[in-house]
């Protein structure tokens, strides 16, 4: 049954006539945005014990956008995906409470590099056949900014990264991208990978009734192995340290002192 006759892009292919239009959103569990990150004394890793964990804020923005697309009747089903240990259920439940329909946890105890993550998402695409894969442009823990681009390459499909505005029509997505030179507009054929920038939207707050409802939504676990993906590693972290600190500065009392200090440094 077609519900929205004004929305032409759902009519593009016969496949879309018979199937539901799905959006897959990948959520990464990271140390919360507001936590001041500390390194363990032995320099082996960052302290996670007792630290608040959240959905990567960029991924939350991607999910919000997917929900808005569905609210415009341009998609039927939103699936949230997380990769990691069972603790990721927490972030998936939050995604379900925000409004996603079902969740998939790809279970692995190894912390994966972006390439195997992209391979796992590619394996899920083969099972789910979505029109859009959405995720944040980067995760605020490792700041890699790679997974979406790698997935698009493995899938041999378009990518629109760092997106701050997204519209869908006629089986294509028009994306406004935040680039160094300003705003770049590109048009990509669907299916495609979209990665979100900060200004794409402001995610909704989750209300208590939705949290209760989310507990009943389906959450399926599948192992990384079942997807046929190997947790290969190419890079080994051998040490962690805090960044070099800047020497303590001085406070000046007025503009004249500031100009004098700049003069002393040869800056004016």
């Amino acid at each position: 049954m077609l519900k929205n006759v004004n929305n032409s892009w759902q009519y593009q292919t016969s496949q879309q006539l018979t199937n539901t239009v799905k959006i897959l959103v990948s959520l990464k569990r990271v140390i919360d945005y507001n936590v001041r990150v500390r390194i363990k004394p032995d320099g082996s890793e960052v302290v996670h014990d007792g630290v608040k964990m959240s959905i990567n804020p960029f991924d939350e923005i991607a999910l919000e956008e997917a929900l808005r697309i569905r609210e415009r009747n341009e998609a039927d089903e939103i699936i949230v995906v997380a990769i990691g240990g069972q603790e990721n259920q927490q972030q998936l439940r939050t995604g379900l409470a925000m409004g996603a329909d079902r969740a998939i946890l790809v279970e692995t105890e190894t912390e994966l590099e972006p390439l195997p993550v992209a391979k796992a998402l590619k394996a899920l695409i083969e099972r789910e056949d979505p029109e859009l894969i959405m995720m944040g442009k980067q995760a605020i823990d490792n700041d890699n900014n790679q997974t979406g681009q790698m997935l698009a390459a493995l899938w041999d499909r378009p990518q629109a990264t760092f997106v701050s505005e997204l519209t869908l029509s006629d089986g294509k997505a028009t994306a406004v991208r935040e680039v160094d030179a300003g705003l770049e507009v590109i048009k990509v054929e669907l299916p495609a990978v979209i990665t979100s920038d900060l200004r794409l939207n402001e995610p909704r707050y989750v209300k208590l009734p939705e949290i209760m409802k989310a507990k009943k939504k389906p959450l399926k676990t599948i192992s990384l192995k079942e997807l046929g993906v190997d947790s290969e590693t190419q890079f080994t972290v051998i040490s962690m340290e805090p960044p070099a600190q800047r020497p303590k500065g001085i406070m000046v009392d007025n503009v004249a002192e500031l100009v004098q200090a700049l003069r002393d440094r040869g800056l004016v």
Partner: protein, 315 residues
């Protein structure tokens, strides 16, 4: 035996200075050769500029009509076709390189290293994580091509003292047609220094309060001969365009002088400018975190002191 390929960033006309910074990064691990690939619709002028960079052996020019816009999906297959002869493929950690290099890596079946800030040897690098709050040392497998982006704020540009060979290559690879460039909207006028490469930058934050008030930032920038930047709050509030944002998700810069006006100093902003030579902060709130990293701080109302500062600089 290491051989480096650097992907040139350009706007169709000029080579972006980020490319010369990648060359400096590559030189720091003393490879046997450094080549630059210029993918453009007509890349002669850009290739000429690239050939002057010291340390470069060969500039490979690939002219294709489809290369007129920097579309990762179109450029990546061309780079991956060339990459098999190299041990390292580097690009800048600008939005151009961040969009492109992971796609190149995945086509080559390898991972990618982001934001190299220093080099220990050809397979050992340092890079920032957690918005620059942690620096990690990473060892890359020697079995695979190292595809990486270079944090441009960590390197100076290679000098233009060279005359490398320019070779023209015709590629045979099929290019996708699923991605179409529409337009680039830029908010920066060309009369002002470029934020990413300027020696001096004056940035404004939320405390400016409006687009009109932001004028005062431009006035001080003019007095310093500086580029203009902004915090995320100022961009979100619509005072200036996104291309002026400095920080974790904007530009990461290292000018000689950085002046922060009415910027509180969130970690995400600090990560974009803390490599500056001298940091000056003017903020009404003397508890603002920006003062923790400022070399020179002035706790005062910017609307009263900035005009005075402009006057004194003009003298």
């Amino acid at each position: 035996m290491s051989r480096v390929l650097i992907v040139a960033e350009h706007n169709g006309n000029e080579l972006n200075p980020s490319t010369a910074k990648c060359v400096t990064c590559a030189k720091s691990f003393k490879p046997d050769s450094i080549d630059i690939v210029v993918l453009a619709s007509d890349g002669q002028k850009i290739a000429d500029q690239a050939s002057t960079l010291s340390g470069v052996n060969t500039v490979i020019k690939v002219d294709q009509a489809t290369n007129s816009a920097p579309l990762a999906a179109v450029l990546a297959p061309q780079i991956s076709e060339l990459a098999s002869k190299y041990t390292h493929v580097l690009g800048p950690s600008t939005t151009f390189g961040k969009d492109l290099m992971p796609r190149v890596a995945a086509l080559l079946g390898v991972g990618q290293l982001s934001d190299i800030m220093s080099v220990d040897n050809a397979y050992q690098f340092k890079r920032p994580i957690y918005a620059g709050n942690v620096i990690i040392t990473v060892v890359a497998s020697q079995e695979r091509i190292v595809v990486a982006t270079v944090r441009t704020a960590s390197y100076t540009a290679a000098e233009s003292t060279n005359q490398a060979t320019i070779e023209t290559h015709s590629l045979t690879v099929d290019l996708p047609k699923h991605t179409q460039f529409i337009e680039l909207r830029s908010s920066i006028g060309s009369e002002r220094p470029d934020l990413q490469t300027a020696a001096r930058v004056v940035s404004g934050g939320r405390a400016l309060g409006s687009k009109e008030n932001f004028k005062i930032v431009y006035e001080l920038a003019d007095a310093f001969g500086a580029a203009v930047g902004a915090s995320r709050a100022a961009v979100d509030s619509g005072y200036v365009g996104n291309d002026l944002q400095v920080g974790q998700t904007g530009k990461i810069i290292a000018p000689d002088l950085y002046v922060a006006l009415g910027i509180s100093g969130a970690i995400q902003h600090l990560t974009g400018m803390k490599d500056a030579g001298t940091i000056v902060a003017i903020n009404k709130d003397n508890e603002a975190p920006i003062f923790e990293i400022a070399d020179l701080g002035l706790a005062a109302d910017l609307f009263s002191v900035v005009p005075e500062l402009v006057e004194q600089l003009k003298e």
